[in-house]
Amino acid sequence: MSTDFRVRATVAALAVFGFFGILILRFANLQVWHHEDYAVKAENNRVALLPIQAPRGKIFDRYGEILARNDAGFSVEIEPARAKNLDESLAVLTDILSLSPAEIKRFKRSAAEARKFDSVLLKSKLTDAQVARLVVQIDQLPGVRVLRRNLRAYPFGSSSSHLLGHIGRLSRKDQEMLEQSERASEYFGVTHMGKLGIERSYEEQLRGEVGFQRIEVTASGRTVRELALRPAVSGEDLLLSIDFGLQRLVEAAYGSRRGAMVALSPKTGEVFAFVSMPNFDPNHFVDGVDSDLWNELSNSIDKPLLNRALRGIYPPGSTYKPFMAIAALASGERRPQDTIQDPGYFMLGNHRFRDSRPEGHGTVDLKKSIVVSSDTYYYKLAVDMGVDVIHQYISPFGFGQKTGIDLEGEAAGILPSSEWKMKRFGKEWLTGETPSIGIGQGYNSFTILQLARATAAIANGGKLVRPQIVRAFRNPLSGKTTEIPRAPAQELGFNPEWVNLVKDAMVGVNISGTSAGVFRGTPYTVAGKTGTAQVFSLGQNEKYSAGRIAERLRDHSLYIAFAPAEDPKVALALVVENGGFGAASAAPIARKALDYLLITRPAEGKVLQ
């Protein structure tokens, strides 16, 4: 028995050795081999990063009018990890804040994506009464906080909405995009980003740099102490070359009509006006647009969400003729003195191409062809040149190409050629398609921005400028202004005589030509050209009432102009959709804009250089 006991005790001792050995191996496994992993985990437990929002840069027009600012306001945030009973809290908050089901849905979606100690925005722009009621009950609502937060505000509402754009909450899609471009870290703790217009294109400068407070927290999320602080860096203010007074004037001139207008400096390319109508109120988009408004805007036949100046493509109609004239001279296909007989139509084979004036214009030379807008002259010219020669001599004006304006999402449009048609449709170019090209119809489709820039190229004697909306950045703290360097204008190499000839013709348009009535009595000389573009068809799925169809099948009214003709300070192009004859709708708006820039503004001491 005693020996047996001794043996058993020894075996037990060996087993104890073995089991304790396992423990020590386990310690070594955790504390030596995997120490790094666990040290990181412990550190992540301990340290929380609280983002400090950077004030977003403000946006000013060329005369200091503020177009986008930050309003301090109260908002409610919830930290779901600390909310004991989230549904109950939400029920109480729904009562106080009269939350819509959409707002609650939106909150729950962002809460599901948030990390453990993140606060999630529930509602911003609280009224004083709501804040007062909330503060009284806040003790019964664990994890709910009322914060003063900066909110983006666009004080002029829908005015210039396409130009300014708006910011919006970072969506899951944005997050994925940021992660793919490895910029997610720049947006850690950031709730909003620029989504459209200048707000998007200049996001990087406007955003600033989010700051951080590194804090030590307990398991229950209580702050123990601050470990480090990196202050936020404010975003840069943007100074636009836009004359906001002009913007509003033009918008008012459009009224309920649809269209787009771009005015810029032929010397520098700085943009004075960039209008797309109808517009929408970007303030509704800052914290997520509600679905009713979204449906209303996106389903409207007026397409208020479409930036017509940047993305709308239109046939230029007769505004194309001055460019065709220069192309004709440059290619040697016409001399200024060459004339044709205009009987009111042009025959190609058995097909008759009608002039807009049935009795014709008689004997027409190059200058007259612009002043009276002879279609026949250009039908014949186009056929004589052929589509590819036209393409070759027109493309220097930048038609069918992006202008490189400092706004994202620009459309390129189409400047047709036989090669383009083959690529696009797999078919040969037909000569029968060429005459319409000459009068700015057919496959031609350009943005108003392209048209304005090309007009500027005539105005400045043959130089292609790059349109630019933002003139400078300004540091909000130091006030230091940094001008954005301009791309040098591109010399197109046209003979100045040809350009001057066309300029003269365009001045003639407003003396004895198609829009002479509109510009009667201006103290400055205006060079211009009317355009009327046929609307071919409507989309197949669009269902309109018979009355509306009739209205929407009317021609687009276009106009290009620059003034003063002898030393052009502004060049512009505009379209009024379904506005009919060019001189009827578009030219009067151009007149208002030019009067404003060249008479009203100088009277206020605001003279264009």
């Binding site: 028995m1 047996d4 005790a9 001792a13 304790f20 504390q31 992993d37 040290a39 437990n45």
Partner: protein
Amino acid sequence: MNSANQRRAQTGWRALALWLRIRFFSLDQPLFWLMMAIFVLSLFAVYSASHDDPDRFINHLRNLAMSLTLMCVLSQIPSVQLQRAAIPLYITSLLLLVAVQFFGETSKGATRWLNIGITRIQPSEIMKIAMPMMLAWFIHRKEGLEGWRNWLAACLMLVVPTLFILKQPDLGTAVLVAASGTFVLYFAGISWRLLLWVSLAVLMLVILLITLGDAACAPDISWPGLREYQRQRICTLLNPMQDPLGKGFHILQSMIAVGSGGLVGKGWLQGTQTQLEFIPERATDFIFAGYAEEFGFIGATLVVILYLGVVLRGLWIAIGAPTIFSRLLSGSLSLMIFTYAFVNLGMVTGILPVVGVPLPFISYGGTAMVTLGIGLGLIFSIARDRSRVTQGFSLQR
């Protein structure tokens, strides 16, 4: 002038000193100093886990003093007297266990406590001592375990209280009580063959659990013989990441604390996991997590070495013990201390499921301190018998 008085006083002091020395040195010296070392570590550990409640450290000092006193007092009782206490103690605690079933107080879903007017007691805790004493005495009386009747009786003595405790339910205590009895039977002579088969079966079960864990832990499966919460504990152990903020939180945070300690630890009072309250039960069952975080691999290994010393010394004392009773009792109690330590450390480091077993002599808490103090006191008492036998004289008059 006062030399007579002085001498008398000196004699008095000397007598006291001599008496203390005899009493003191009569305790087994290696075991005593090992215990002291563990006590010192426990002071550091509990202090570090008490920043939110300063009273806790004071209470811990009181608990240590109580445990030490019990140890010293019990060490003075000859083991012959201990034998007499075996039956009454066992029967009393068995009756109390039955009483818990009917009159016990329920908290956190378990019925473990009995209110006896002046205080609340936990009868299962007494059983941890009563069980090995009873079995040791029984085998001592029968001079071994010959015949199936004796085996059956011994097994009943083991199984009945264990079942009562399992029913409370209290898995941790049931494991310890069953272990303490099993150790007695082991030392009394369970056949090696049976032992081998049981060990193999346990090993197979563990391997099965690890390989089939995912399937067996599917939510709609129940395991025979285990309650749902017990099944979940095992499943949580197999995969704590399944629910890192819920059921897996204890194990995960505890492993992070231990692992982040590294080789030498973050320094006393510098453990972020414990100081910032990421470790639940950080003063009691999970005290080792904070300790290992602050003292690192070296500190953790030191604790294991100290326990190893205590257990080996206990087994050494058992080998030299004069009677069957004292041999079986001290051997079983030594292995029980091992069990406490192994189950606790295994659970804190994530290799055993979470059961409520404290770290002996280090965790904050009076109950375990008293039970373990008594257990160690019994070992000290047996050690004294051994020294009497081996050294051939008694310091007792």
